[in-house]
Amino acid sequence: MTIESYSKFVIDSPFFESLTKPISSRPVPWEGYARSNQLSIDEADSMKKLDIQEIQEKIDTIDSNVALYSTKVLAVLNKLDRNDAIENLLDLIAKTYTDNNTRGPLVLLNGLLELNNIDSSLPFNTIAKFLDNQNETIQMLSSYDLTILLISAPKSMRISNDIVSNLFQLITTQFLVSENKNLVFFGIQLLKELLSISSFRHIFWSFQSNFFPPLYKLLNQNSTDLQLRYYTLLSIWLLSFNKEISIKLPELYKDIIAKYLSLSKDSVKEKIVRLAVSTLANFISIPKNENIIKVFLYEKAVDIFNQLIERKWADDELKQDLSLILTTLNDAVVNLTTFDQYEIELSKEQFNWSPPHKSEEFWIENVTKFKENNFKIFVQLIKLLQLSEDEQDAIFIFESLSKEQQQQFTLNQAIICHDLGMVVKHLPESIKFLEKNPSLKYTIMNLMNSQNADVKYEALRTTQILVSHSFTV
């Protein structure tokens, strides 16, 4: 059994390097431990043999009898409770793997993984033991070692969920929230490696209430560390590969879409935009998920993506994702532009700039509905423009509304004016109707004097249409 699809995971952390560099040159009293019966003579012997300075020699020694050395390493780790020995051996595992100038970096790793066939708790449980060690170096070494073992293990190997979740717990609840920025950076790199494995994503998500918030918090920090942001986005992107996670994430963390949209819009670096857009593409690609599309539309995603797609991007995948999202959104807009939606807004007396209002096709198709029942809806709309027939009354009532209600009311006014203009434009008969009921016309024109700029604008436009059509009718 060998490691499949090998691609080396080297940690980018000067902090980690500085901690671990002196370890290999620190002598460990193996014989002493043998004499005090903490180790067997064989074990001490094997360890002594590995106490060579040069990495290549260490590897060659191990290679001469892989099974033996792997077993002995784990045995010592299990038995000996001495920090110097533990650090030495954990570091051995790490260094033989990461060193760039050696032949056979996988030798020890493979050897350790082979032991899983003999005892399914090996090698993971042995290493996992050190995850909650007092010594920070040992924690970092063991979490790194465990990570490389986990990602290098063949798919067929059965790995206990507890091991993985314990590792996630260490990373998310300790490393990612640490005051020490180096530790945060260290942790996020481990996380992004682990999350590249689909089954681990499942495990992560099953404890999401504990594990995800620290990750999410990193995203919201406006830190300038680009790489940290990149790795955070990478981790969440990997999570979004799982369908259930893609559905649940926006439900549980309601502002995630807004956050990602602003990242896409504002980030300077292409790779950040690339990941943000790709994650959004994953969210939106869940079939039959109308809610998420509504959120997108609410957050003005269409405009944002129209802008984004204009920019010059070097990355092909980014361009593909952008056009994918735009097509999905545009299709959704067409579907959502129905008269039913409009009626719902009318009945709730809460208008907002939803797709029906702005779409020309909507008006062309549905304008006859406004004519029905003696222009019932038309009149209804106009009535909503005023709070009361009497001007003084209207002002009085307006003042008594809450700020939110006032805002909604003015928004209503603006939108209704716009809508009325649309109706008039597509249905000239409505003008005749207005002529017969000049008070209605008066209401609209009055709004040109409104305080609110939007309302003024819409009222002006509508009046403009009214006037221009009156002459042609």
Partner: protein
């Protein structure tokens, strides 16, 4: 980049190296992203292909299974049918044989004058009673003529007693019944239009029809699948 002192060669080399490392790192990151996305797409594709194949295998199996079941059904019912037909044929053969033998035995009856004469008389009487005419002609075999003449009067007497009027019976001596038949009499009315065939053959034929159900029941037991008995 104004305001900087010109770089030494070493510094230039350094900067180049830094840029190179940076570019390589960015490329590695993108390569990794591509690989991860590709793996994910591979998994999805594989899963959907596997699903599709499983579905098609399932439906293939089901249609094969249905076909086989149907074929088995057909064979079963064909065999059942054939067997039934065989049984029915065998039964029919047996019944036919019975009547054939009866027919053979019939021929013997007429040879025994003692038993045959009363039979002939009864046959004639029956024929007269069914016609209820005042004048009839009868036809018999050539060798029965004498026997017939002997029993005519008795038959006429019994008829008159039962019917209330007399009948005139004459033997048609121009038209005999075939001497091949077992015996009996054909009674014809005066106009020659109504015939009562009371030959032994005819009687056997009638009997075979009426007695068939009883014989069948006797030989083969009640029919297990019969539903209607009226």
């Amino acid at each position: 980049m104004s305001g900087r002192s010109p770089l030494s060669d070493n510094q230039v080399a350094d900067e180049l190296k830094k840029m190179e490392t940076f570019i390589k790192k960015e490329a590695d990151e993108k390569a990794k992203e591509i690989r991860l996305k590709a793996e994910e797409e591979y998994e999805i594709e594989k899963a959907s292909i596997v699903r599709a194949e499983i579905n098609s295998i399932d439906s293939l199996y089901e249609s094969k299974f249905k076909k086989a079941a149907l074929a088995q059904q057909i064979t079963k019912s064909t065999i059942a049918n054939k067997t039934r037909l065989k049984i029915l044929a065998a039964r029919e053969q047996t019944l036919d044989k019975i009547f054939e033998e009866a027919e053979e035995k019939l021929k013997k009856i007429s040879q025994d004058k003692k038993t045959y004469k009363p039979i002939l008389k009864s046959l004639l009487e029956e024929g007269l009673l069914s016609l209820l005419e005042k004048k009839v002609t009868i036809r018999v075999r050539k060798n029965d003529v004498s026997a017939a003449k002997e029993i005519i009067d008795e038959a006429r007497k019994d008829f008159e007693a039962k019917a209330g009027f007399a009948v005139d019976v004459s033997i048609d001596e121009s038209n005999y019944l075939s001497s091949e038949i077992a015996g009996g009499v054909v009674v014809i009315n005066s106009t020659g239009k109504i015939e009562v065939n009371n030959t032994l053959e005819e009687r056997l034929k009638l009997l075979s029809e009426t007695a068939l159900p009883g014989i069948r029941l006797e030989l083969f037991g009640p029919s297990k699948s019969r539903k209607f008995f009226d």
